[in-house]
C-alpha cells in the first residue's frame, strides 16, 4: 500500500507573503438611502472555498454581484489578481456565476447550455466539443446532454448550471445559494460533490448562503455578515468554537448566552451571573477583560454534561429543572431552567438505547462543564 505524506494544511490567509486573488478595499455600496455593504475589507486567496454567510439582506448577495460585475461599488476598490475590476463589464471578467435560479436557457439543450460561453468566446468547434464533454463527465451528465432543462430533475439542473459556469475555466466561480432549491438529502450529497469538483478544478469558489451548516461543510473560510459588515472571517472551526460576538455565536449553531460581570481576573476569569450563585470559572482565551466589566458567557449545548449529581471532574456545576426535552434520535436536547432563572440548553448523545428516558420533564438535574467549554464575549 502506498502511503501519501499528509498534505500541508491549506491556510494561505495565515501566510503574509501569499497573494490574494481578490481584495476588497474599503468597499461601500449604497442603493439610494440604503447601505447594502459598508466599508468592507476582505482578502480571498486562490483555491479557497470561501463562504459568505448571513441572513437575507445582510449584503452578501450584493458583495457577490459586485464581483460578477452586475453592481459597481459606490466607494472603494475591488482588486482581482492585482487589477481593479470596477471598469470591466461582466462579459469581460474572468469570473463566472452560478445563479440561484440556475438561469438555464430553456430553449437550449443541456449540451448547448454548457457550450454557450465557449461559443461566445469564439472557440473552434473541436475545442467546444472537447470542453463540453469534459464538463459533462465532471458533473456526471453525459446521458442528459440532449435533454432540455425542463426535462431533467432539480439536482441535474443544478449540475448543468455548475458545468456551464465552469466551462470557461474562470479564475473565480461565484455560487449564489447553489443548493437552496434542493431537498435536504440531495443537498448534503451535493455539498460533497461541490467540494470534490472545487478540488479537482482548483478554481476559487465564493459561495453565498444563509445555511450555516452548508457554509461550515464546504468552506475553507467563512465570513459571517450582518447589516453590510463582516462580523468575523475565519475557518469554520474557529467561527464555531471562538466566535467574537454574541451575533456570530448565535448565528452559527446552538448556544446559551449568560449575561454576567467579571468578578475576578487571573489566569482564569470568574463570571458572576446571579446573586448568591457560584461564579462561572472559565479560561479567557486571551480576550482583553477588565474586572467589573459586564460580559456575555456563551456555551454550546454539547459542551454541557447533564447528570443527577455534579460531575466530579468539571469545575462548573449548577442545578436546574428540565422544562423541555427535544428527542432527535441520535441526541436529546434538554432545556434547563437554572435556579437563578437563566435558561441553558444541554445536549446529550443517546449512546445507549432507552438512555433518553433517564430524565424527564420537571426533573432536577445538575449541569456541569469545564473551564474550556465556553467563551467570554464583550459584545
Amino acid at each position: 500500500m502506498e502511503s501519501k505524506p499528509a498534505p500541508a494544511p491549506f491556510a494561505p490567509w495565515e501566510d503574509a507573503a501569499a497573494h490574494p486573488l481578490i481584495r476588497f478595499e474599503g468597499v461601500t455600496k449604497r442603493f439610494g438611502d440604503f447601505t447594502a455593504v459598508s466599508d468592507l475589507n476582505l482578502k480571498i486567496y486562490p483555491r479557497e472555498f470561501f463562504a459568505l454567510l448571513g441572513p437575507s439582506g445582510c449584503g452578501k448577495t450584493t458583495l457577490m454581484r459586485m464581483l460578477a460585475g452586475f453592481e459597481t461599488p459606490t466607494e472603494g476598490t475591488i482588486w482581482l489578481d492585482g487589477q481593479n475590476i470596477a471598469p470591466v463589464p461582466p462579459n469581460k471578467r474572468p469570473v463566472n456565476m452560478m445563479f440561484q435560479s440556475y438561469a438555464l436557457f430553456p430553449h437550449l439543450s443541456v449540451w448547448d447550455n454548457i457550450a454557450f460561453g465557449l461559443r461566445r468566446a469564439g472557440k473552434d468547434k473541436e475545442t467546444v466539443r472537447a470542453r463540453v464533454e469534459e464538463m459533462l463527465r465532471l458533473t456526471r451528465l453525459d446521458q442528459f446532454a440532449r435533454r432540455k432543462p425542463h426535462q431533467i430533475s432539480g439536482g441535474q439542473r443544478q449540475r448543468v448550471a455548475l458545468a456551464r459556469s465552469l466551462a470557461l475555466g474562470p479564475k473565480l466561480l461565484l455560487l449564489d445559494e447553489p443548493l437552496g432549491a434542493l431537498d435536504k438529502k440531495l443537498r448534503q450529497d451535493t455539498q460533497f460533490e461541490l467540494m470534490d469538483i472545487q478540488e479537482k478544478t482548483g478554481t476559487t469558489f465564493v459561495i453565498v448562503t444563509h445555511d450555516q451548516e452548508e457554509a461550515m461543510t464546504v468552506a475553507s473560510r467563512v465570513a459571517v455578515m450582518d447589516a453590510g459588515r463582516l462580523c468575523q472571517v475565519d475557518t469554520p472551526q474557529h467561527i464555531y468554537e471562538t466566535p467574537n460576538s454574541r451575533y456570530v455565536a448565535d448565528f452559527i449553531g446552538e448556544v446559551s448566552i449568560i449575561e454576567g460581570r467579571v468578578a475576578a481576573l487571573g489566569e482564569e476569569a470568574e463570571i458572576a451571573y446571579a446573586e448568591g450563585a457560584r461564579p462561572i470559572v472559565t479560561r479567557t482565551g486571551g480576550a482583553a477583560l477588565e474586572p467589573g466589566q459586564s460580559v456575555f458567557y456563551a456555551i454550546r449545548p454539547e459542551k454541557i454534561w447533564v447528570g443527577a449529581a455534579p460531575h466530579p471532574d468539571r469545575i462548573n456545576s449548577v442545578e436546574g429543572t428540565i422544562v423541555d426535552i427535544g428527542y432527535l434520535g441520535d441526541v436529546s436536547t434538554y432545556h434547563v431552567r437554572l435556579d437563578t432563572g437563566q435558561m441553558v440548553k444541554a445536549l446529550m448523545t443517546n449512546a445507549e438505547r432507552y438512555a433518553a428516558s433517564r430524565f424527564t420533564w420537571n426533573d432536577r438535574v445538575w449541569l456541569s462543564w469545564s473551564r474550556h467549554a465556553g467563551v467570554v464575549l464583550a459584545s
Binding site: 440561484q100 438561469a103 436557457f105 430553449h107 468566446a121 470557461l168
Partner: protein, 294 residues
C-alpha cells in the same frame, strides 16, 4: 357515460356545429347554386314538399360552375394574391412596430405594467369603424399629417397617402397592433431576468444576449401575434374600402361587391369558400405550433 360529462363534451361541439358547420354548409351550398332573379337570389332551393323527386332535382341543380368562373376571370386570383401580399407585409410591419412596444412593457416597472396594458387595450373601447374613419382626417391631402409636415418644412407639396396601399398598411398596423403586442408581451414578461445576466456572465454583450436569449424565447409570442394579425387582415374589408380607394385590390372588397353590388350570391359564396380554405392552412399551422409549445 356520465350524462353530465356528455353535456360538457357536447357543448363545444354543439357550438361549432351551430355557429360554424351549419353556416359553412349553407354558404357551400349557395356557392354550388346558380344565380336567379328571385328571393333568395339563387336556385335551386330546398323544397321538401316535392318529396324524393324534389331532393333529386335539388342535388342535380348543384355544380362547380362558380369555382370554374373564379379561375376564368383574373380579378379573383389577383385579388387573392394581392390580399396575401398586403396581409403578409402588414403583418411584418406590425411585428416591427409591436415588438419594441411589447419589449418596453415587459421591462417596465411591475407597478406600471397593468396601466400600460390598459393603454394598449383602450382603443378597443371605441368602434373600429370610427377609428379607421379618423385616419381619413389624418391622411388626406389637407389632413393633419400633411399640415404638420408642410408646417415643419419637411415637404412642400402635400403627400397623397389616402387611397393608396400605404394607407391600407397604416390602417392594418394601427388596428391590429394590440393583437401583436399582447402575445409577445406575454412571452417576454414571464422571462426570468437572470437569464440575461447569465448570458452576460458567459460573455454576451447586451445585444448578443438579446438575439441569443430574449428573441428565441419570445418566438412563440411572435408566431401567435403574426397569425392573429395575418388571418383577419387577409379577409379585411373595412380598411381597404375606407382607406385604400379604388386601386387597392383585396379579396374582402371583391366579396362585398359580389354580394351587394352584383347580387351574385353564388359567386360571392364561392369566393368566401376559397378564402376560407386559404385561411384554414395558416390556422392549422398555428394550431400545431400551439400544441408543440404546450
Amino acid at each position: 357515460m356520465n350524462p353530465r360529462r356528455l353535456v360538457l363534451i357536447a357543448a363545444p361541439y354543439a357550438w361549432l356545429l351551430a355557429l360554424f358547420m351549419v353556416p359553412f354548409l349553407i354558404v357551400l351550398k349557395i356557392s354550388l347554386s346558380d344565380t336567379a332573379v328571385a328571393i333568395p337570389p339563387y336556385a335551386p332551393t330546398f323544397d321538401l314538399s316535392a318529396g324524393w323527386a324534389g331532393i333529386r332535382e335539388f342535388f342535380g341543380g348543384l355544380d362547380f360552375e362558380n369555382f370554374i368562373w373564379l379561375t376564368e376571370d383574373d380579378l379573383y386570383w389577383k385579388s387573392y394574391l394581392s390580399s396575401m401580399k398586403i396581409a403578409a407585409v402588414a403583418t411584418f410591419l406590425t411585428l416591427l412596430a409591436g415588438y419594441p412596444v411589447a419589449y418596453a412593457m415587459s421591462r417596465a416597472k411591475p407597478e406600471w405594467r397593468p396601466t400600460l396594458m390598459m393603454l394598449i387595450i383602450l382603443p378597443f373601447w371605441s368602434s373600429a369603424l370610427i377609428r379607421v374613419y379618423a385616419w381619413i382626417g389624418i391622411l388626406q391631402s389637407e389632413g393633419y399629417l400633411n399640415q404638420l409636415l408642410l408646417w415643419s418644412g419637411v415637404i412642400d407639396t402635400p403627400l397623397s397617402i389616402l387611397n393608396t396601399q400605404v394607407a391600407v398598411y397604416i390602417g392594418i398596423v394601427y388596428t391590429y397592433l394590440p393583437f401583436m403586442i399582447l402575445p409577445i408581451y406575454a412571452s417576454l414578461e414571464k422571462m426570468d431576468e437572470s437569464l440575461l445576466e447569465a448570458a452576460e456572465d458567459l460573455g454576451c454583450t447586451r445585444i448578443t444576449a438579446f438575439w441569443r436569449v430574449t428573441f428565441p424565447l419570445s418566438k412563440p409570442g411572435i408566431i401567435a401575434g403574426c397569425f392573429l394579425v395575418f388571418i383577419p387582415s387577409l379577409g379585411e374589408f373595412v380598411i381597404p374600402s375606407i382607406l385604400g380607394g379604388s386601386q387597392t385590390l383585396m379579396i374582402g372588397k371583391v366579396l362585398w361587391e359580389e354580394f351587394f353590388s352584383n347580387r351574385d350570391w353564388p359567386v360571392a359564396s364561392a369566393v368566401a369558400v376559397v378564402l376560407l380554405l386559404i385561411l384554414v392552412i395558416p390556422i392549422v399551422l398555428f394550431q400545431r405550433n400551439e400544441e408543440r409549445n404546450a
